[in-house]
Symmetry: C2
Subunit: 221 residues, 2 copies
Amino acid sequence: MTEHRDTVLTGLDDDTAVLHRISEDLTTKFTGIFAAETVERYVFESYTALARTSRIHTYLAATTARFAADRLKALAQAKGAIAHDVPEVLFVCVHNAGRSQLAAALLAKHARGAVNVRSAGSQPASELEPSIVAALAEAGVDLSLEFPKPLTDDVVRAADVVVTMGCGDSCPIYPGKQYLDWTIQDPAGADLAGARKIRDDIDLLVRELLTELTATQPENQ
Amino acid sequence: MTEHRDTVLTGLDDDTAVLHRISEDLTTKFTGIFAAETVERYVFESYTALARTSRIHTYLAATTARFAADRLKALAQAKGAIAHDVPEVLFVCVHNAGRSQLAAALLAKHARGAVNVRSAGSQPASELEPSIVAALAEAGVDLSLEFPKPLTDDVVRAADVVVTMGCGDSCPIYPGKQYLDWTIQDPAGADLAGARKIRDDIDLLVRELLTELTATQPENQ
């Protein structure tokens, strides 16, 4: 049914003050690389992008601060303003709630700093898949600070290797990067046994990728 | 099933050249307002944002050019660098495929330049609802150049009035704006009769809003 009435929104937080504070902190962090205005744009755009799909408003300021900081770092790397001394790998899936989170967490764990890892989704979910969080916890990986993020241009730019899983051609193709497409079952709604299987499948691929990256690294540098 | 094989992506277009050309055009258009680097960032981010949900790659360069141009205009308006001489109204729904497209098109038609109108979605669909396109065509409105767009911070900033329909609290709340929430049925999958009903419901609300905006406009200026 349609109600012909206007409802003036009330009771929602005005996050402007905290977003300005985040912008100031990041402006300090990126002094000499980005102007305050650029940083503020990134912070507010990151906030709006996360607010579109995030169900829980409570953590939005905290996730915005981390998302914006990482995007700015990626942009600085792509510009050559921040050292890019290890291979950068970006994992992309549809929801950034299962496959790409698994792959990123496992590669980061095995690489021990020899690779920098990011993940994103073409249509990010509102939260991580609980079975994936549990399957990774069993493997000693804590995902409690992770959250689904939309794919942005900056993280594609910063990547040396882009691994897509199930997100079709939603990721821009730029020259000079290695693009891989892995066929991995979508863990949406999977039980713990299913999540363990997907975790182990991805773990094999991630170990192969790490071997390849660390073997070829001296030639690439 | 899982295949333990890497597939190197091939055959996808590299749109870099056309995106650089769009960036150059918009840099000229916004001379004195935005630096070339800012414009290029907007163009590439707009492209990546649309590529995430667009099913048809063919029109992506054209829609990117229009989306980036309108976002830059919104940003310039919010900064006060471009005249803001009529009320700016932003309609937001979930998919930017039905309700917000209807409302924007009808308000633009009735306002005849007395209001500037934008629309966006919290989770944009891959294309417009065909029944909505048909119902608006009957009312003499051509939607053939429209496309679903994600909600971005710049268009919220530029708005005097933000009207949300069914997208919860996914739209940032900033001070100094009028926020309205309209309860309108989601037209997803509606037949033509259903789309006509939604069109007429929205038309009534849009006419009321226009009366209010044009009546109060002299006091606001």
